[in-house]
């Protein structure tokens, strides 16, 4: 019998109840039955769980082991600060209006509501020639990346990658562009092999590096020379402090070679609300001249049914005059956190990157194994971080620390880390 957790008696449940009951005997007749459908072989190539659920699991384990420890999570990049009032109330109002005749809305355009597409184009791509019809509103960058089939794990799932080479831990058909202190966290393009798609995140998760204008010009040129498509992830653009480009479309020619993916998650705290967007310029063409935007539109219409209208209302509010001011101060709050943590690690004499243009610090522990460092920090200070190798082989001696958190937790974490000395 399955009792519902929080429900009282349900008089109408009879209408929903199936009219037959399954007896234990019925199910016992089919013990150990297997279908003849083969498991998707690409799923087998995935090495382990997706990184962040794995971190969550370790956090849960640790909390069980030390029930009295106050675990501070600087691991998963999850926002912690409440939404601005103007944004929350716009969503509350929108939800309320859905119960009125004049305010009710059914299916929305899969590409997003016109007003929001326009507001995104005007706010983020002013003077860059990006039109509202090139903006596709999503339920977040994570989903859009799969719709674009570009990232490592989703790439594995789609079958683009081939098998893993056991020694290096790299997938055979993926070109890994190493980014480290030796090359200023920007790949050496002169050594890079041509691929169809180049996935590029700036400001970078996990290294925190924001590519300079000159670097991005090189990247666009590289893409042009090779006829490649850049998928540019600008989810952290708002964290830029030093005037580095916020959009790939600041670089002339990018509209012919790049798609840009972004999100309200780290701007407006929408990690749970779910809202993002992807820009596909009309000038981006496949080898046969077919516009990429036509196919992306088809995917969006077939595999998706639009972001929640309530989330879209919130997105629109966050781009209003009042809302925009409020979300900027949210971002500033996390940036101040990053400053505090940067200072802390530097005082420990540990070489730390990032933290200036992104809410992530990339802390270097040369010669060590990142999972070991992760465990050591966890055991000694009860702070969750993320081992760098979870992001790729070049991360094996780094730890990623996130700046999302309540100020008091950041200060407490700082105190505990200093005690490591």
């Amino acid at each position: 019998m399955y009792k519902s957790l929080s429900l009282s008696s349900m008089p109408c449940k009879a209408m929903l109840q199936p009219t037959a009951r399954i007896t234990r005997q019925d199910s016992e007749n089919f013990v150990d039955y297997r279908t003849k459908v083969a498991r998707n072989p690409t799923m087998e190539r995935l090495q382990r769980n997706y990184l962040f659920p794995e971190i969550s699991a370790r956090e849960a384990e640790h909390m069980e082991k030390y029930p009295n420890a106050k675990v501070i999570s600087l691991g998963i990049g999850d926002t912690t600060q409440p939404l601005p009032d103007v944004v929350a109330s716009s969503m509350a109002n929108y939800a309320h209006n859905l119960s009125t005749l004049t305010g009710y809305r059914g299916y929305g355009a899969e590409q997003g509501c016109k007003e929001l597409r326009k507001a995104i184009a005007e706010t983020f791509y002013k003077d860059m020639g990006i039109q509202d019809k090139e903006v596709f509103v999503s339920d977040g960058a994570q989903c859009d990346i799969s719709r674009l089939q570009a990232y490592v794990d989703s790439s594995v799932i789609i079958g683009q990658t081939g098998d893993v080479e056991n020694e290096s831990g790299r997938y055979r058909n993926i070109e890994y562009m190493k980014c480290g202190p030796h090359n200023g966290f920007f790949p050496n393009l002169s050594k890079a092999v041509r691929t169809d798609i180049i996935f590029f995140c700036s400001p970078n998760n996990p290294t925190g590096h924001a590519a300079s204008r000159e670097q991005l010009e090189r990247l666009v040129r590289f893409a042009q020379e090779n006829g490649s498509i850049i998928v540019y992830d600008s989810a952290y653009a708002f964290y830029i402090t030093d005037g580095s480009p916020r959009s790939i479309y600041e670089i002339p020619g990018a509209e012919k070679v790049a798609i840009e993916v972004s999100s309200f998650s780290k701007i407006a705290g929408f990690t749970g609300v779910r809202l993002g967007w992807t820009v596909v310029p009309e000038q981006l063409l496949y080898a046969n001249g077919f516009p990429v935007i036509n196919d992306f539109n088809r995917i969006v219409c077939t595999c998706f049914n639009g972001a929640s209208r309530i989330a879209q209302a919130g997105g629109l509010a966050s781009l209003s005059k009042e809302g925009y001011k409020a979300v900027i101060s949210l971002v500033d709050y996390y940036k101040e956190n990053a400053e505090i943590l940067l200072e802390t690690f530097e005082s420990l004499g540990v070489r730390t990157y990032g933290g200036v243009n992104a809410p992530y610090l990339w802390v270097h522990f040369p010669g060590s194994n990142s999972w070991d460092v992760f465990n050591e920090i966890l055991e000694k200070t009860h702070i969750i971080t993320v081992p760098g190798s979870g992001f790729g082989p070049a991360g094996k001696d780094f730890i990623r620390v996130t700046a999302f958190g309540h100020r008091e937790n950041i200060l407490e974490a700082s105190k505990r880390l200093r005690s490591l000395l």
Partner: protein
Amino acid sequence: MSAIHQNLSTAISSSASTFLGYNNLKNIKSSNVSLPGRISGVVKCVSSPSAEKTAYKTKVSRNENLAKLQAGYLFPEIARRRNAHMLKYPDAQVISLGIGDTTEPIPEVITSAMSKRSYALSTIDGYSGYGAEQGEKQLRAAIASTYYADLGIEEDDIFVSDGAKSDISRLQVLFGSNVTMAVQDPSYPAYVDSSVILGQTGQFQKEVEKHHIFLFSNNPTGYAASREQLTKLVQFAKENGSIIVYDSAYAMYVSDDSPRSIFEIPGAKEVALEVSSFSKYAGFTGVRLGWTAIPKELVYSDGFPVAKDFNRIVCTCFNGASNIAQAGGLACVSAEGIKAMHEVVGFYKENTAIIVDTFNSLGFKVYGGKNAPYVWVYFPGQSSWDVFARFLRRPMSLQLLEAVLDLVVKVSSGSVPLDTGKMFWKPVEDSSSCTSFCVRDWN
């Protein structure tokens, strides 16, 4: 003005295509140039239009699976035609009985829960960031106990989504391109289209392998399979080692004792998973919330549980349904919410009954409409797009239909007596003469 210049000017001012091709330019260059100044002036004019013609292309090949799709996804096409029609006839009162979009407001008990959650997100204690990709625990448990009580489907078998449409594509990604797919004909277009996109179609296998994935629902025919039929389907799947993807988005519309869930059939847990949605129960078409139930007993040929891989997909390709929508979902499956959803469903079922009566009285063979909000009307010998266009093109008959609907309601409620002289509809073979017949007799 010299003949050459005149010729060139005319060419520029007319369609650029013939003049601006590379060959033409070559011809001009190679001809005897007696006025080099003029020619270079012309070349200068030509340069920017020429750039348009030879637009930069990447070297990335288009995904050939997308090229296999015949046309646009069905419903945007319907919307496009509707909009074009409304532009053409700005005064016409177009009634949309096309896209299955809900129209009635969401019950207050549900929207107030969503408002409450929205406000809570602006407080320190009420704020939440990323949720579990599988959905909030409370909601998963409530869905399991509301729709699958006594069927052996538990909280952790439920994956909350942003709607059935997204889940269908995620399931296709899960199964990959090496599976064969069986669908009902006709069926909801997303099944076939997502299958094409994943590259499952157009793969001809040497041996006929029957390890299909079956996609099953009652949209668009409105027909709900009987217990006996579903038992046969489960049996068939069992014998062939196939998996059934059962779409139960309209289960709450079932009026008779047809099964509402595939899991009512013994043995279904070993061969089926079920997809559903709050769209058509609570008017959540724009709010976006649904779920997929995958029993633990459903395993691949190597014994690996399907749910485990689906969980991986959900964690990698998705980041959970909106927390506000989930708060609404939880209110949906509360006692008051279920009562309210039944009222909404009841309203649409009354609509369906009116439409069924109307088409019946017009002499058409009508299917569905009893267990789903869709009526499947038979027009033998006609192309359905032609019939669609005829309905759209004859504003007169659409107004007529509206008037008929109005009359049917009045007659059935007793406020207008039945006048058999006026209200006798003789069934006719050819539907085009049926239209004019209606007009003639209506007078």
